[in-house]
């Protein structure tokens, strides 16, 4: 469905916001972040299809964080079915659960209008493990989590756009392509590592490797054939710093975040870093150096990950517990909510730092204050109430908060021309003074 949301501005202006929410997207990746552009996107939600959430693009958006997008249902009590086969075994999507049940009950629905019924009977059959070439593009898209990758690339583009240099289109395209390839590689390796765990979680059980549509060898080869050219493109076509950041992010995502998910709750912080690196890469692609502005942009994304992921993970506690994932929402619920609130407030602080670092004008913290205050308010409600409705509200807010914040930041970007003008004025002043000095004696 489509939701039109009106922001209650601080009297300055109303900002209508559209966002699409997906049905039944179970994504628990911490790192992946859902980054919705202002352009409307219709996501076809299919049976058990998830939209990765957390931005971890380069390997799953920040740890995955791939959060599940759940339908906005009315508050209902969680029904815990103790039956061996319980398709709708999730707290959040009641409707999706109902959809699933409907599908199970009527497997012979045939090719009905929606794609969902078609998925059900096919899923229950024995399939030959032969690579179908005509299905290959779809399989690879799902393996690389193409939607999440797109979100990651948009974050990197935001970083590129915010850099205080004249816009260079070829560089921008190369950087975006390289980032996208690196993200595909990281996501594929992540899925390669997590096959038995993905099979056991509702959100992820329809992935290509889980379903045997592609062999692990092919998945690894695909990852290598995306990652190597991607990093090479960034290193040689853009600059070595960006390439190094890309390679580091892939490593962080696949070798640190993915195993850590099952070992310690610290994975959330690692995942947040993974999500913060793409905009930094965009900035370094444009300027070639790691300025304070790059770190600020990374910091904003880093802080954003926490309300986003923590709110999402609140509804997935059962699956995490059974799957053996160490997440704050299961083991340290109080910490989970505190951290989410802390980082909502940090976003306000970071917005104020932006003009200090000459990244934006002083209008940015003023205009962004309403949305930052709103997400902080929802963060506080989540902290205090600790229930499904507050966690859902916070999660959905985070989905439109980030694109809006980045857009406002871009419109408030300190123009490169302004800085040049100031420099000219100073120069003229100096030469005037010198001229005077020469005449006097």
């Amino acid at each position: 469905g489509l939701f039109v949301w009106r922001l209650k501005g601080a009297g300055t202006r109303h900002i209508p916001c559209h966002f699409v929410h997906l049905c039944r997207a179970a994504n628990h990746r911490l790192i992946t972040f859902q980054y919705f552009n202002f352009l409307k996107r219709m996501y076809v939600t299919q049976y058990n299809k998830d939209l990765s959430q957390r931005a971890k693009p380069k390997s799953d958006p920040v740890v995955s964080p791939f959060h599940d997008l759940q339908q906005l249902d009315q508050e209902k009590k969680v029904i815990h079915k103790i039956s061996p086969v319980s398709p709708g075994h999730q707290p959040w999507p009641e409707t999706s659960g109902r959809n699933e049940l409907r599908e199970v009950k009527s497997p012979a629905e045939g090719e009905a209008s929606a794609p969902a019924p078609r998925a059900e009977p096919k899923d229950r059959q024995w399939k030959e493990m032969k690579l179908q070439l005509d299905e290959l593009p779809g399989i690879l898209a799902r393996l690389s989590k193409i939607k999440l990758t797109a979100l990651v690339v948009s974050t990197a583009s935001a970083g590129f756009a915010m850099a205080p240099v004249p816009f260079d289109l070829p560089c921008f395209l190369l950087a975006s392509l390289g980032t996208g390839l690196a993200s595909c590689a990281a996501n594929s390796i992540n899925q390669f590592f997590e096959v038995p765990f993905d099979s056991n979680m509702n959100r992820t059980k329809n992935r290509p490797l889980v379903r045997g549509q592609i062999s692990p060898l092919l998945a690894v080869c695909f990852a290598a054939s995306c990652g190597v050219p991607g990093i090479a493109l960034l290193t040689l076509g853009v600059n070595p710093l960006t390439g190094a950041l890309g390679a580091f992010n892939i490593f962080l995502y696949t070798c640190c975040y993915t195993p850590m998910k099952r070992m310690s709750i610290a994975n959330t912080w690692v995942g947040a870093v993974v999500g913060a690196i793409p905009p930094v890469m965009g900035w370094t692609a444009a300027t070639g150096s790691l300025d304070a502005g790059a770190l600020l942009l990374g910091g904003i994304l880093y802080s954003w990950q926490f309300p986003h992921f923590n709110a999402l993970s609140w509804g997935l506690r059962e699956d995490y517990s059974r799957g053996g994932y160490c997440m704050m929402s299961v083991t340290h619920p109080g910490l989970c909510r505190r951290v989410a609130l802390r980082h909502c407030l940090a976003l306000i602080g970071l917005s104020v730092v932006a003009p200090v670092l000459d990244v934006t004008t002083w209008t940015f913290p003023i205009i962004s204050l309403p949305i930052n205050l709103y997400i902080s308010y929802l963060g506080f409600r989540f902290y205090r109430d600790a229930d499904r409705s507050s966690s859902r509200k916070l999660f959905f807010c985070s989905l439109w908060h980030l694109p809006m914040l980045l857009l406002v930041m871009f419109t408030c970007k300190k123009s490169v021309l302004d800085k040049e003008d100031k420099g000219d004025l100073l120069g003229k002043g100096e030469s005037h003074g010198r001229a005077m000095e020469i005449r006097l004696p």
């Binding site: 815990h80 024995w126 056991n200 379903r211 060898l217 299961v330 083991t331």
Partner: protein
């Protein structure tokens, strides 16, 4: 799977382990390398199946017991007047989830190490088999061209 098929077949998810079973095709002229690969995959499948089936059943059972004990503590029955199964809300279940996760932590660590090792071995063997097959095909092609 049909008898004439020359590929592996993968089935629907298992009721208990949620894993999809694979029936492996044994070619008549299977090389020792290919046999090693197939056996490694079969072994991994059996271990995974056993682990997850046991784990998921334990989860279900413990959850049932937890709900029962909590309901009894509250003085409620398992089923209310309408015959519906009584449930606990998410906050009450949170204690159970935390407990279950910490109880099984070591088991998961062991399984993780095991799984990663097996996964790498199998994929590496797949690579070797693919390479061997490619070389065989090239040699066959060369022989055909010569004749």
């Amino acid at each position: 799977p049909p008898a004439h098929s020359r590929n592996d077949w993968i089935g629907p998810p298992d009721k208990h382990s949620n894993l999809r079973p694979v029936i492996f095709y044994v070619p008549p002229e299977e090389s020792p390398l290919e046999r090693r690969l197939r056996e490694a995959r079969q072994e991994a499948q059996a271990c995974n199946q056993q682990f997850w089936a046991r784990h998921n059943c334990a989860f279900r059972q413990e959850k049932e017991e937890f709900i029962y004990s909590r309901l009894k503590a509250k003085g409620l029955e398992m089923r209310d007047e309408t015959g519906q199964k009584a449930t606990l809300n998410a906050e009450e279940m949170a204690d159970f989830y935390k407990d279950f996760l910490s109880k099984n932590f070591r088991k998961h660590m062991q399984y993780n190490r095991d799984w990663y090792k097996r996964n790498f071995t199998i994929t590496f063997l797949m690579g070797q088999v693919a390479l061997a097959r490619a070389l065989r095909w090239l040699r066959w092609k060369k022989k055909n061209v010569e004749h």
